[in-house]
Amino acid sequence: MKLSSMFKKPNQKKYISLTESQNAIERTVSPEVPEGLWKKCNECKSAIMTEDVKNGYYICPKCGHYFRMHAMNRIKMIADSDTFEEWDTGLTSGNPLNYRGYEEKVQALREKTGLDEAVVTGKAKIDGREVVLAACDGRFMMASMGKVVGEKITRAVERATTEKLPVVIFACSGGARMQEGIHSLMQMSKTSAALKRHHDAGQLYISVLTDPTTGGVTASFAMLGDIILAEPKALIGFAGPRVIEQTIGQQLPEGFQRAEFLLEHGFIDKIVERKDMRDTISQIIQLHEKGEIQDSVLQDPEHLNLQQEYNHNVTAWERVQLSRKQERPVGTDYISELFTDFMEFHGDRYYRDDKAIVGGIARFRGMPVTVIAQAKGKNTKENIERNYGMPSPDGYRKALRLMKQAEKFGRPIICFVDTPGAFCGIEAEERGQGEAIARNLYEMSGIKVPIVSIIIGEGGSGGALAMATSDEVWVLENSIYSILSPEGFASILWKDSSLAQEAAGVMKLTAQHLKKTGIVEQVFAEPEEFTVDTLKEVTAKMELYLAAFIEKYTKLSAQELVDNRYERFRKM
């Protein structure tokens, strides 16, 4: 049955009100939506409550779209309340090109936005820690960088260097400011140079890229962070997408130049949602403070007299198989077992983020350390994603980048090695697998902080060595470390890869041989059934040795450290 037009409805004009009463209030106002109560989301086109947007991190409550934020709101969201002290207000650039109407436009924007230029800089506290904070504001000529923006950023960085404070910059910009011509271009060098000095002084710079960060700002201060964070889906690039499309005459793929694209291409460390931004920045700052190991082990070296019960009734080939076993704990298991507050950072800053290597900063017994692990997967899906733990050149470059940062901030480095070997493929050769490995050996030999490498499974050749040119190398009882896989060895020398079992016997790749010949310093016994469930039996001992290692090696001067490492390999 259809109900349309079935019902008799009274003629509205003849309605007689039954409810008139002396008390009833006559209304003098009629319903209307007050100005500014709601706005339209430019992404999903829904009407949304302005207040919900303000209280919800300036994100569309309907579709999750990130709105661009005013600089002052950004600062409010990040800094402890009432701690922001603004610096360098009132600077002007004049009109270097005498561009018609430029001064009037700047003046009008000042009045409209209440800002004096496209960036706000100053000092604030985040969870009680002082930082120099800068935030660009897109309302002001799309936060383009002219002389004033360049000058304010430079001054803020210089002051941060002098006062030994971390710098946090929220970038957002259309690029250099056209109206100031070549003078704008110079700001790119100026800001970069100031950041170089800040870097050389050993100070931290966190860059946060927001929508959109393009042109001369991307090609200067925005991309120079020790840590580069980005908001989800932010447009980040040098040339704008429209310019690229016109130039190459092709349509750009979905997601091109978005934060996720950059993460995949190794240019940013982490995508952080707005609601987590403050806590993430605060945690990064705290992880960059100098720290010491809690609960000294060396003062009570008794701890290190651990009984290690090795199982000697295992053949070399059986150990090879054990080292490759699917159930064996992988690098990420060790990270979660031995460290707290692990924060992963991504990318090599050249081409790609290699998932075969996981690295970042964590705390070990309270002390900030850099942790890098060659990461096999725990199942086939993860293994495909992580390329079975076979790093590409991008992975080694990421590892080196993280090691260099550890050196800058004085953090010990702990590497977990577990790879069948460096990835063997066309792309790997195109991007210089050999160069990447060589570079790591070369650079690691001179790194001025302690490095320990632990081979937790397979130590496959140069691919392992590129993360094991260290002060000490440790192995697990059933780990292997060799010039090549036994299969490869048999195939090269005996032209028959099926003789791998025999090869394993002659290669002297087991823990006992490695220890005997001084290739490694320490062997950890393994439980009979070695899985994530029994990992603690190994890490309990490993933790004590790690603590002792860090205590011992952090006492050495940089020169002693590098000399010892040199000697370690020199005598081999």
Partner: protein
């Protein structure tokens, strides 16, 4: 005076409100989702506006669309019905900001009563009895023993982070408490990693009793007696009746006074309901206040003769209450059964009964399709007779006549409850369904 009302709801309550408005000479505006184009409320109202897709979040919960429809249609008030936005203080506030009369209490009152601990404190201040409990967290068995003396046995120990009955223990005596506390705490630590405990008086076999109140702008408050809503399945009410057999005239007066006090303390305006738990001993405790019209309002309408929807509109128009407490009398007995769909589907054929003392509030018709998007309630059968026995007989007869073809409903299940001896004797509390579930299902299947 309100001249045009937009009904921000669907189903039988929207129809109920449209009818009341029509009788009052007020124009009506329906809003509907894409799934409700053919719905009764859409067709019955003077005007109707589509406000979005079938999921509630896109339509009946879409505040911006509803406000826009109100302004476009020229309505001066919104009736929110129950469910959806009816107890959403943000929506009420939005109406206030847009000069739209929200037929219900103010945003501030909705917010305060929606906050459990704030509502509890308001009631404690107003000397309305609340369930005695430890206001402070308890960590040691010794503290628990001390607190229990004040609260009164039996007590229930609950984990602060509790849920799903974990970390919960009842103790009837001092001897039991120590053990109960430690077991509950151990369980809480294991399940939630936290041993923070609370304790409150444990109410044995309570009845769910609620009092209907009406309050005007001028501080006048009356109560319209109680409803016994103890027949519940998984906290969903199935059958409601008024008056409650277990309440004497004296107790009614006492509870009614408490309800009025509660409404006054909350500075309440419009129709509202105060929920109590009633112990076998006759002790009663405030649970919460519902700031909307209730599904079960017809039973009160029938025993008091007052049209609650019309009263809501009059109060929202600024009229003073036309009744004093002494004008309110409960006459006869009324019972409501909720008929729910068990599955979505299209009603191919139906017959709904009638006759003296039978009222059916519904929005279904032959050919109506029950979608999975909204509440499953199809109809409310309400009967009225001069006493409870006659009302039960009438309800049995009415349920026996209901025919709804094409989808499965709970009519037979309801029929079994009405034929239960304990129900007939008025011998029931909120545990009734849980205790009888098996038996009811067995009979229903036959």
């Amino acid at each position: 005076m309100i001249k045009k009302v937009l009904i921000a709801n669907r189903g039988e309550i929207a129809v109920r409100i449209i009818r009341a408005c029509r009788e009052m000479g007020i124009e009506t505006v329906a809003v509907y989702s894409e799934a409700d184009k053919e719905a009764l409320h859409t067709q019955l109202a003077d005007e109707a506006y589509c406000i979005g897709g079938a999921p509630s979040a896109d339509s009946y919960l879409n505040m911006e669309q509803i406000i826009s429809a109100t302004i476009v249609s020229g309505a001066d008030a919104i009736h929110p019905g129950f469910g959806f936005l009816s107890e959403n203080h943000k929506f009420a506030e939005l109406c206030e900001k847009c000069n739209i009369i929200f037929i219900g209490p103010s945003a501030e009152v909705i917010r305060k009563l929606g906050d459990k601990s704030q509502a509890r404190n308001t009631m404690i201040e107003a000397k309305v009895p609340v369930i005695p409990g430890s206001n402070e967290p308890i960590f040691e068995a010794e503290e628990a023993l001390k607190a229990a003396e004040k609260i009164g046995y039996p007590v229930i120990v609950k984990a602060a982070l509790g849920g799903g009955g974990k970390g919960m223990r009842v103790a009837a005596t001092e001897d039991e408490l120590e053990n109960a506390f430690q077991t509950a705490q151990k369980e809480a630590k294991a399940a939630f990693g936290d041993g923070t405990m609370y304790m409150e008086h444990f109410i044995q076999h309570p009845k769910h009793i609620e009092f209907q109140i009406l309050a005007d702008k001028y501080g006048n408050v009356v109560h319209l007696g109680e409803r016994d809503c103890s027949i519940q399945k998984n906290h969903q009410k199935l059958i409601e009746e008024s008056p409650c057999v277990a309440i004497s005239e004296e107790l009614r007066e006492k509870m009614g006074e408490a309800a009025v006090k509660a409404a006054k303390a909350a500075q309440y305006e419009n129709a509202g309901t105060i929920e109590f738990l009633l112990e076998e001993t006759g002790e009663f405790y405030f649970m919460e206040m519902n700031t909307r019209i209730q599904v079960e309002h017809p039973v009160t309408e029938w025993v008091t003769g007052i049209d609650l929807i019309k009263e809501q509109i009059r109060i929202a128009s600024g009229n003073e209450l036309a009744y004093k407490q002494e004008d309110i009398h409960l006459t006869g007995h009324s019972i409501e059964c909720r008929i729910n769909a068990k599955t979505p589907g299209t009603i191919t054929d139906m017959y709904l009964p009638g006759g003296k003392g039978v009222r059916i509030d519904s929005a279904i018709y032959s050919g109506y399709t029950v979608t999975p998007y909204y509440d499953s309630m199809l109809a409310k059968l309400i009967v009225f007779a001069k006493n409870r026995e006659e009302a039960i007989m009438k309800m049995r007869s009415t349920l026996g006549e209901v025919i709804i073809e094409g989808i499965e409903t709970n009519v037979d299940y309801q029929y079994e409850i009405l034929n239960d001896a304990d129900y007939f004797a008025g011998n029931y509390n909120i545990e009734f369904i849980a205790e009888k579930e098996e038996e009811l299902l067995r009979h229903e299947a036959i």
